[in-house]
């Protein structure tokens, strides 16, 4: 069993309540869905219909919020190589990869140096959203089903930000952080999700940049906030 970190800092930009019933919470579901699907949020403004590609818009907003939330500069700066979290199952060529799309959108905003698809899923891991509490994938499940691309093992980036679309408990980040830590022992590695889940409960504001901690202990994973 690898030595997973007991405390892992993470960053997130938006909040989403999967089971909330308020207007803001229901809207947050649409935002999270649009990010996971690389799709459009349709809305009306002044009575006129409009649409926005949410991943591209979120990347733009992250750039705009760097000044208001200085911690974001640790995750996004020209020295950082972005590595997208792979999908939870192996994929065939041409399959939608939301985390890679997020990385590309952040690069297009000039927020980071480059993106490398260094992590590859070799076996499916059960998706946490569908699993009963006792069956949710643990960090070891993510660690065991992902490999670092051999071609990327010989050139260590200056700094890494691991990018995911949504963080729920943080199991993915803990498992994949350890994979990257073993491959690049001397490189600073940070974890960032565009959206963090708020469950149970409601979101007051979808825009809610935070830096928090994922704690791994004998009682399991705990993410704060």
């Amino acid at each position: 069993m690898p030595a997973f970190p007991s405390k892992l800092p993470f960053g997130a930009f938006l909040a989403y309540a999967p089971r909330g019933s308020s207007t803001a919470s229901k809207t947050s579901r649409d935002v999270a869905y649009a990010i996971k699907q690389d799709s459009t949020l349709r809305f009306t403004q002044g009575g006129a219909p409009a649409a926005v590609r949410v991943i591209d818009y979120a990347a733009k907003r992250i750039g705009e919020e760097l000044r208001n939330h200085p911690f974001l500069n640790d995750y996004f700066n020209p020295s950082v190589t972005l590595i997208p979290v792979p999908r939870s199952s192996p994929t065939q060529p041409g399959t939608l990869w939301p985390s890679l799309r997020i990385c590309q959108a952040l690069i297009a905003q000039g927020l980071c140096g480059n993106v490398k698809t260094s992590l590859q899923r070799t076996k499916p891991v059960q998706k946490s959203a569908f699993a009963a509490p006792g069956q949710r994938p643990e960090p070891a499940d993510h660690y065991d089903t992902v490999e670092v691309a051999p071609a990327d093992l010989f050139t260590a980036p200056q700094a890494i930000t691991l990018i995911d679309d949504v963080v729920t408990r943080g199991s993915t980040f803990v498992g994949l952080y350890q994979r990257l830590r073993e491959a690049f022992p001397a490189v600073p590695i940070r974890c960032f999700a565009v959206v963090r889940t708020v469950s149970p409960g409601e979101v007051a504001s979808i825009l809610d940049p935070v830096q928090g901690t994922i704690t791994l202990s004998g009682s399991g994973l705990h993410r704060q906030p």
């Binding site: 949020l41 349709r42 499916p124």
Partner: protein, 230 residues
């Protein structure tokens, strides 16, 4: 019958690059296109020669979706498709038929009344212009379009050569939710469920059903006059 010709982007909004790859150039639509803005859309698809249990599962799932305001999408084919459409209508829900024929033709003929009802009260979509010849190759292409129109696809039952499998693979490529029923996943005579589960399909069971509903979009913003919410 009145109908409109729209591009997929006019109907659904801007498409991403993965969606654009297999999207038809035009869609011919008859009925109420506002259904597309009313909530999540879930395809229920499967065998034409379905088992009695399969038909019942399709009807049950369609009723659960209808009760939650989720639009039931299917292909108007015999068997599972027919059961899904009829159950959605019976339970007061909305339904979309994605046809393998042009709008002015019906297959199978015995679904003429159902197609008429859907055009009158719901929505029918075809990627084939009026008068286009009906050929077997139209139907799997129709299934890819159905995947594009749907937030999630559920395959109720299907053989290893079923047209529904085209939809399953397309749903996975698009990154959409794909479910197969437990009875299908556990059928040792079939090879496709294991392949699709490897690439991200999930098993639909009583336990996973609520989690499934939670992952679907609400399409809340389309009813708000509030701009981009962040």
């Amino acid at each position: 019958m009145s109908y409109r010709t729209l591009t997929p982007e006019e109907l659904l909004g801007p498409l991403n690059e993965v969606e654009q790859k297999h999207a038809p150039k035009a869609l011919y639509v008859a009925g109420d296109t506002s259904i597309l803005h009313e909530g999540a859309r879930v395809s229920i698809v499967g065998a034409r020669k379905a088992s009695r249990e399969g038909l019942r599962r399709a009807a049950k799932l369609a009723s659960l979706l209808a009760q939650r305001g989720i639009v039931v999408v299917s292909g108007l084919a015999e068997g599972i498709d027919t059961s899904a459409h009829e159950s959605a209508i019976k339970h007061g829900g909305r339904t979309i038929a994605v046809l393998g024929t042009p709008l002015d033709q019906v297959y199978p003929k015995k679904n003429a009344e159902l197609q008429h009802t859907i055009i009158r009260d719901h929505l029918a979509v075809s990627q084939y212009p009026l008068g286009y010849p009906v050929q077997p190759k139209n139907f799997p292409l129709r299934n890819r379009t159905m995947a594009l129109l749907s937030d999630a696809t559920v395959i109720i039952e299907a053989t290893d050569t079923s047209g529904s499998l085209h939809q399953g693979w397309e749903a996975l490529r698009l990154g959409r939710l794909l479910f197969v029923t437990k009875s299908v996943a556990e059928n040792p005579a079939l090879t496709w469920p294991e392949q699709m589960l490897h690439y991200g399909a999930r098993v639909l069971s009583d336990e996973s059903l609520e989690g499934f509903f939670d992952l679907l979009p609400v399409r809340m913003t389309e009813g708000l006059d509030a701009g981009i919410p962040f």
